[in-house]
């Protein structure tokens, strides 16, 4: 973020010059080039994540690729399209830090679901819960 802040000043200066005399228009005025680059990059990343499915990658490779492409796309949209790269840190942190709490919910959800799966297999003696579906094996493969 410190790096992004470093870039803030020249970008803001350009915006100021472009907006002319009206000082309240300092706003988020950036050269079009960066938007087109990010737009292209988003297309490439979307194609890549589609190809993950098209070529039937499985297991941890599939997961790693899907999550990396997802986070890259999300990061580019928030940083450039939503201008977070050029906002003051006070609002950047106010908006981007609270969602980290969701990781706790994610962890609790995954643990709870594992336990539910285990008890269902244990007590209902499900026909479909094959031995490979053990409580420890929560990898992405088992649900395919």
């Amino acid at each position: 973020m410190a790096h992004a802040e470093g870039q803030h000043h020249p970008a803001a200066g350009q915006g100021h010059a472009a907006a002319g005399a009206q000082h309240h228009e300092v706003g988020q005025q950036h050269p079009l080039g960066i938007y087109f680059k990010i737009w292209g990059l988003l297309f490439v990343l979307s194609t890549a994540s589609y190809l993950v499915d098209y070529f039937h990658f499985q297991g941890y490779l599939r997961w790693a690729l899907i999550l990396v492409f997802m986070l890259l796309k999300a990061g580019l949209i928030v940083a450039v399209f939503m201008h977070m790269l050029w906002e003051r840190l006070a609002i950047v942190y106010a908006i981007l830090v609270p969602p980290l709490l969701l990781l706790v919910l994610l962890g609790i959800g995954a643990m709870e679901a594992d336990y539910t799966f285990f008890t269902r297999g244990e007590f209902f003696g499900s026909q479909t819960a094959a031995p490979t579906h053990g409580p420890g094996a929560t990898g992405p493969v088992q649900h395919r």
């Binding site: 988020q28 297309f43 589609y50 939503m82 006070a90 679901a113």
Partner: protein, 241 residues
């Protein structure tokens, strides 16, 4: 009675860098988000709350999917299209993804031309964004029809596997589609305001006494990019898992 003089409180104050700057902004008088327009700060806070709603949906979906002992229907096949006799996996969803990303691109151009006060170009790009959004909703309607009518998927069960599939699918994509629909409506409203010159003339809006300003185009843009952002997550964890 003399009116109190207006002072430039909207100006960005000099501040220290990094963490010290955050502390300085938050501990200062009256407003923490300096040089962030009011509407934009509020939109961000709304989007933050929306983030929690969508995350709750996606995390509950993860929970039911991990805990079910019945095989989950394979999204790659469920959402595949048959074209010329060959089955192409996830084709419709891929096209929808590209449409939504394109609409984000046109939105960003609208915001940019808005700040340049280029009325006509802003209008055109806003309308183009709305059109792409409407196309997305249309394709979603097609997808829902296909799933409900032809494949018999219901919120309480389906012929392909785990019963939770339908509930998760309709809830998550339905909520997202609703967001897109409202986005399209507001894009059209703002496009009309731009073309009429409401923002140049600073005419107050219908819901607020505040003067019209091109910042509302950026605020609208934030909402629209958020809709795209949510789709990125839905695409990854619902369709590709």
């Amino acid at each position: 009675m003399a009116q109190p003089a207006l002072t430039g409180t909207g100006e960005a104050l000099p501040r220290p860098d990094g963490l010290e700057g955050i502390v300085a902004d938050w501990s200062s008088d009256q407003r923490a988000f300096k040089n962030v327009p009011w509407g934009k700060a509020m939109m961000w806070i709304f989007l933050l709350s929306d983030t929690f709603i969508f995350s709750s949906f996606l995390i509950s979906y993860m929970t039911v999917r991990i805990s079910t002992t019945v095989p989950w229907p394979n999204p790659s096949e469920v959402f595949g299209l048959t074209i010329g006799g060959t089955e192409v996996p996830l084709l419709l969803i891929a096209i929808m993804t590209f449409i939504l990303i394109s609409s984000s691109g046109t939105m960003v151009l609208a915001v940019n031309y808005g700040y340049r006060k280029d009325r006509v170009k802003t209008f055109i790009f806003l309308l183009l964004t709305a059109a792409l959004g409407a196309t997305f909703v249309g394709m979603q309607a097609f997808e829902w029809t296909k799933l409900i009518v032809h494949e018999g998927i219901r919120p309480w069960g389906n012929p392909m596997g785990a019963a939770q599939f339908g509930a998760s699918f309709f809830m998550i994509t339905g909520f997202h589609g609703t967001h897109v629909t409202f986005g399209v409506i507001f894009l059209i409203i703002i496009a009309i305001k731009v073309l009429r010159g409401d923002l140049d003339k600073q005419r107050p809006g219908f819901m607020t006494g505040r003067k019209g300003n091109y910042e509302i185009v950026e605020t609208m843009g934030l909402y629209w990019h958020f809709v795209d952002l949510v789709w990125v997550f839905i695409f990854a964890v619902f369709y590709l898992w």
